[in-house]
């Protein structure tokens, strides 16, 4: 049992900073409303630190409150992608030796999302943060369809290449459009042979492993992912799927 609480001034004081906007003009009543709202959120000793008029009909608040929200840290479970990590050459050598064929991956940023930099960071030769992209790996066959790709087009390409893994990027997340997009993808996949066979990988700055699992993917990768993280993951997951014995 390891109870943790927010720590402001002193350990376990439960202090949290909040900021939000209310659609009312600044004034004593607005300030009181802000304070009541923060109390509704379960905070005590609420301080409305600032109330700024944001135009004539809105007010922006900064508040501090003391909340009695505790969590047993020992019982927090955060699924993590876990496997050994090899360098570029070592991984290639391993694939050559244990699989004897290149791993085929197809990737795209789907839907109307036009941000290519994320998926490019994983695929492009030059890579990201000093780490080579998948296209550079001799033992990967990496096909990047770019951005604004319809889910159906991605699936078709994956079928065509008999892909071992499908890599999906989503950057725009306003009103959960990314979830809609990947759900559409999963629906299409379900009707295909690839379903259950291809490894499904989801990535983007507002994605994490847990969320990806919930959405039906095998893994999720968030901000700061390096291509080698993905390369290693796909290799290990593939070995697992193929029932290859642990090394």
């Amino acid at each position: 049992m390891n109870l943790i609480r927010p720590y402001g001034d002193r350990r376990d004081d439960g202090l949290v900073q909040l900021a939000f906007t209310l659609p009312v003009p600044a004034g004593a009543k607005a300030k009181e409303a802000a304070s009541q709202l923060v109390k509704k959120m379960g905070f005590k000793s609420v301080l409305v630190a600032s109330m700024e008029p944001a135009g004539e009909r809105f007010s922006v608040f900064v508040c501090y409150g003391r909340g009695d929200f505790a969590l047993d840290f020992d019982r927090v479970e955060a699924p993590e992608v876990k496997h050994p990590k090899h360098g570029f050459d070592a991984l290639n050598a391993r694939i050559a030796e244990r699989l004897g064929r290149p791993i085929v991956v197809v990737g795209a940023c789907i839907g109307s999302d036009a941000h290519t930099t994320g998926i490019d960071a994983i695929f492009n030769m030059k890579g990201y943060a000093g780490d080579y992209g998948l296209e550079r790996y001799p033992w990967f066959r990496a096909v990047n369809l770019g951005a604004q790709v319809e889910p159906a087009v991605l699936v078709a390409k994956a079928k065509e290449l008999n892909a071992d893994a499908i890599l999906v990027s989503q950057i725009v997340t306003q009103r959960d459009i990314h979830k809609e997009n990947v759900r559409a993808l999963i629906e299409i996949l379900k009707g295909e042979d690839l379903w259950g066979k291809a490894i499904l990988v989801f990535g983007g700055p507002r994605i994490d492993h847990k969320q990806a699992l919930d959405l039906g993917f095998d893994a999720g990768f968030g901000p700061g992912t390096r291509p080698s993280d993905v390369a290693n993951y796909v290799y290990y997951r593939l070995c697992e799927k193929l029932g290859l014995p642990e090394e």
């Binding site: 944001a54 135009g55 809105f58 109307s112 999302d113 997340t173 306003q174 459009i177």
Partner: protein, 520 residues
């Protein structure tokens, strides 16, 4: 104010090269039209609304003409011929015309002349009405304060809720807090639609659809707000994409003050066909010139994909090319807002000096133009407190180097389109920094052999080399080699190529004549 450490002879050489690059391309532009240009011409003639399928009438007409392979003569010509026979529904009229035997054969000389004269008269009337609205806007603006104070960059903020009515609420609030320019960001991927949606819209993603009605509603709200505040609040939107000319026209009609409008952006960042964009940018800029719309170029985007330090010269070179194109479209320097940005990686050293170097150079290379400065975006992450300080440094560079327009950075850039409170913080911070550093730029000088001066010269030399290469091999080749924004494109690739049409010898576009000053 801003200091330029570059040899003026080199600047002269670079401008010549840019001119040459543009000329090579302009000849071809002048021989083509596009579906969007033709739709725009029709819109000037009042071809508005949507058909039964929801598609805009202008699209229905132009598509029909293209199917019939006669668009090269100009849609207005056919419209004239179709309506001559009576009727007022352009789609039906064109349909009927094309259905007639011999429909495509020319009229008699006299009839041809009469038809064209008639259409020219109508075009003049409509363009005159457009001009009147623009003059009205200019007069309105002349009576109001502009900007925080003389010499302060215009504080430019974005609204992007996807819902025009939320946008209006937020734009008003922003204006009340000091925003000088409101940009309504477009819904994700609108630039790839080959038509302009219709009416007031409430469901965009990452932005709100650019429609004429949305423009009108927002401008109306901002007029009211400007009047109340005694300070003019500008409105801007995006014309890049497959509908550059049409959106420029709608912007002109609804008295927009600025438009994002770049000669290459669509090619590089939206994979729109190269010739399609080049033709469209020309016509759309002619409209901007006519309607006193300030354009904003998009060189800032180059350094959101490429490394900002590495690719700084591409920004400088591209701006000179963009300038050359704008001049060829009749734009005055005063209406060309060159885009650049503070995208330098904050983990590096002396980034403020390197930024000052570039910001001063861009400023001084285009002394009459309202340079538009963009904030850091790429290297931001979810740490909003840090991002806020990072933005403040951009504010400082903006006021110190005398940028004309500053898009204010949002501390939540890496998270979501701006919330009301994000804009509030950005405006408050920028206003403070402008005030605090109001005369800083004129109080200091940089050492001629210092880091700033050397960085400027280094970047300019590389820009010059890029221009030499591009002038030698042509713009198409340079783009093919990913020289700009790290993206390679071909002449025949990209969306919308099929919408590029060779002009017939007797191509008729009275609107273009007016815009090009050829009407008499």
């Amino acid at each position: 104010m801003a200091q330029l450490f570059v040899d003026p002879a080199k600047v002269g050489r670079a401008r010549d090269l840019a001119g040459r690059i543009a000329d090579q391309v302009q000849a071809r532009i002048d021989r083509h039209t596009t579906v969007s240009i033709e739709r725009t011409a029709l819109r000037l003639f009042g071809v508005a609304g949507t058909g039964s399928t929801g598609a805009p009438v202008a699209n229905l007409v132009v598509d029909r003409l293209q199917q019939a392979n006669v668009l090269g003569k100009g849609a207005v010509y056919w419209l004239g011929r179709a309506l001559k026979d009576g009727g007022s529904d352009p789609v039906k009229a064109v349909e009927r015309l094309l259905g007639q035997p011999g429909a495509l054969s020319p009229l008699s000389m006299a009839e041809e002349r009469a038809l064209r004269d008639q259409m020219r008269r109508e075009a003049r009337a409509a363009a005159g009405e457009l001009k009147r609205r623009v003059r009205e806007r200019n007069a309105f603006k002349a009576g109001l304060q502009v900007g925080a104070f003389e010499g302060a960059p215009l504080r430019y903020v974005i609204v992007a809720t996807g819902n025009i009515f939320d946008d209006i609420d937020q734009a008003r609030a922003a204006a009340e807090q000091g925003a000088d320019v409101v940009a309504v960001i477009r819904s994700t991927a609108q630039s790839l639609l080959d038509y302009v949606p219709q009416g007031a819209t409430t469901e965009g993603f990452g932005g709100t659809f650019a429609t004429q009605e949305n423009f009108r509603l927002m401008r109306e709200a901002l007029d009211e707000t400007s009047r109340r505040l005694g300070r003019y609040v500008h409105l801007t939107n995006y014309s890049s994409g497959l509908c550059m000319p049409e959106i420029a026209y709608m912007g002109a009609a609804e008295r927009l003050d600025m438009l994002l409008n770049d000669a290459m952006y669509g090619i590089l960042f939206r994979d729109i066909n190269l010739w399609r964009t080049l033709c469209d940018q020309y016509f759309s800029r002619r409209i901007c010139a006519y309607a006193d719309i300030t354009i904003n170029t998009g060189e800032d985007n180059y350094i959101t994909t490429a490394d900002a330090d590495e690719a700084a010269h591409t920004v400088v070179a591209s701006q000179l090319i963009n300038e050359a194109f704008a001049h060829r479209a009749g734009m005055k320097d005063e209406r060309i807002g060159f885009g650049h940005s503070f995208e330098i990686d904050p983990d590096r050293e002396d980034t403020l000096l390197r930024e000052l170097a570039l910001a001063m150079m861009v400023r001084e290379l285009h002394p009459k133009s309202p340079v538009k400065y963009m904030p850091p975006t790429k290297h931001k992450n979810g740490d909003i407190f840090f991002a806020h300080v990072y933005d403040a440094m951009a504010d400082l560079v903006a006021i110190t180097t005398g940028q004309g327009i500053q898009l204010l950075g949002m501390m939540t850039e890496a998270l979501h389109t701006p919330f009301l409170q994000d804009r509030h913080a950005a405006l408050k911070s920028a206003s403070y920094v402008y005030r605090a550093a109001r005369h800083l730029g004129s109080d200091l000088t940089f050492k001629p052999e210092g880091i700033v001066a050397r960085r400027q010269r280094e970047v300019f030399d590389r820009a010059l080399a890029l221009l030499e290469e591009t002038a030698r091999d042509g713009m198409v080749a340079a783009i093919g080699r990913a020289r700009f924004g790290d993206v390679a494109r071909t002449e025949t690739g990209g969306k919308g190529l099929s919408g590029v049409v060779q002009r017939a010898d007797d191509y008729f576009n009275p609107f273009l004549e007016i815009l090009e000053g050829r009407e008499d």
